[in-house]
Amino acid sequence: MSTILYDNVSVSYGTNEKTALKNFNLQINSGEIISFIGSSGCGKSTALNVAAGLLTPTNGELVVDDLITRSPGIDRGVVFQNYSLFPWMSNLDNVLFALRQRYDLPNKTLQAKAADLLDRVGISGNFQKVYPSKISGGMQQRVAIARMFALDSPIFLMDEPFAAVDEITRKHLQSLLLDLWEKEENRKTIVMVTHNIEEAIYLSDRVVVLHEGEINSVVAIPFERHRNRREIENKSEYLMIKNHLLQAIEEKIVGGER
Amino acid sequence: AGKTATETEQDTSSKEEVSANTQEKALTPVNVGYLPSTGHSLYFIAEGEGYFEEAGLDVSFSLFSNSGEGINAVAAGQLDIGTFGTAAPLKFEEQGAEFVIFGGQMGEGAGIVAKPENAEGLKDPANFEGKKVATVSLATGDVVWRSAVHDAGLDLENDLEIVEMQSANDVIVAVNQGEVDAGVVWVPYVEKAKQEGLEIVAYTNEYMEDHVCGRIIANTDKFKEEPETYIAFMEAMIKAERFLADENNKKAVLADVVAFIDVDKEIIEKDLYDGYLVQSADPDKNAILAFREKMVEIGYLAEDKDVSGIIDIEVYKSALENLKAENPEDPFYQELEERYVEKNL
């Protein structure tokens, strides 16, 4: 059981500033995968940060598992838009740090677990031992993903988690995420922000299109799970959904300002 | 150390006594504070010549560079005994610090310095009118000089400019730079000033004869509780004065002093034997009271009250009597006895 409910949430960053999120209502079920898409600056990160408990709504409430929640917790793992690794810890230590928060196991065991998690996202050998600043942007993002996996919380919140990696790696990471999700009996609830419509369709149960802080539309993705990328891309609904989403974003071009 | 024959004899006899004592009773620990000055040489001689040990005392010395801090340490009981000038204790007494003055250490030893071209003109204190003078307030020399100027009929506030300095050293530099016309300094800076080409306008004893400087003060409670410790202490101090008085002991004295304040032996020698620095263990109560009056006159003290109550002259007297009883023939102690009567009663 890990549900998220946005109960009429509004967020404005300053008193003078535009409201970044307006009367946002969304019920996310346990074990569901939800994507937020929308034009740049429409409020996706804001919505995700509310779920993370990092932003307290100016109005309305965030309800996690039937409890009003205003702070972050170990029940919700987060990948930030800007990775946010701790630069003073090696990549391995970053992952280890998250593992220690979750498990009370001997150091050796956790170390091996951390190394394995990093291996899985393609950060291996010497790259595990160096500081985050010594690896490329895409590699840092993968370490951040490994760190979230390490925390193994029932809810995953991810802000453009695959934006900085090439298409091949992206696909690999997507599969990794789905594998992890499908394997578990108590499926994780996953909320992610993405710019990639194909990715949204492939991964999500529902895609939420945001526009200027409001929900423009919520599109349910009808394809059955264990999805096959090729297969669904050839389905007739696929293009329809894709075009629908594109249009929903497009409504006003470029950041909604012109 | 080079000791005279008689001294050595006396030493051995008293040493035996001491060792007999120590078998029964350990030495009494005494904490003593001092300032880095050749004026405090009686301490150093008493320690160097073993007089404290003879008196059954285990003295540990602590150095201070600021009178106020030392007086506070005595009042707080961290020090049992200390020497921190005359003006500062009198001022602190007025502020409410508690201690007893029970002995003497030094007197005089300060002077006014100026550039040679100015020195002659300043011989008369009245001539300080319109001049700029650097001083360290509450130094003995400062008090004596101010009172001299005051006695000459000048208003200290308006008729001349007095500027404060942090140390005698800074005063010399200021005089030398021509920033001020004259400055008040004390040993060993009087010598230093001469070396730097300055001239002595006057020694302070020319303004005020036999004025006192470092007085020995004690923590009031301890003083009342264990008078015998303090008597023993003064015995050692008087012996030191006796040792210093004999010029034959010069070498030993210099060695004793240098062990504490590591300066040029020449400077020590000049200070101790050139006559402008008086080293005496006598409390000199009369001079203290006279000094206090001067401080009132120049505005350093508010109230002309009688401080006889905190000046003890009995401990010194007992100490002197004890010594005399041991050596009834010694003319030195007789001299001191006469001096005691003259200066305290």
Partner: protein, 227 residues
Amino acid sequence: MATNRFGWATGFIYPTPEAVISQFTQDGKELFHHLVSSVGLLASGYSLAVLFGISLGTLSAWYRRLGRIMNPASSVLAPIPPIILIPYAIALLPSFRASSIFIIFIGAFWPIFVATLNGVAGIDRRYMDSARTLGVSTFTLFRKIIFPAALSSIFTGLTIGMTLSFILLTSAEMIGANAGVGFYIKLATDFGNYTKVVTGIIFIGIFVTFVMILLRRLEKHFLRWQR
């Protein structure tokens, strides 16, 4: 006076609040007169320290060669107690006032210098790279990039330097001065008048609080982009 082993025998160093207040009402005018004198001194010494501390600190972090000279130099020179420098100041500077200013200057200089140096040395190289690709001149680089990027650290130095300049007021105003709050306090200390000492300390403390609030406002204003 109660005597115990905690040293309350020295009761006179703990003035009562009433005594302090009455001292304050009595000396109020005099204290303000002293303050005016002190402020002039502080302003001169401190602003010199700000000027030299920031510029030398920046240059030492920037030009390795200068840094290689300044680092050991600062190790040897910085720990010299300003009091020891007083005779040299008196000898070399044209007036007592200049010497006093110098003492304030030297006290405030090192913290500002060290903090600036560390701040500049620690600038995120992404900003430097970014600036370099824009082809900025060295002067613009210092003014528009390095200075704002190191400003947070510089303000740490400014705060500590400010504190130190106040600490040194008592020493600085004992160089041939006859006014100033430091002079007032130091003289009272020498005379064992702790009611005056405490009064002076509280008086200057209130003033420092105002200056610090000002400095913090300034910091908040200049670093508003950080929040």
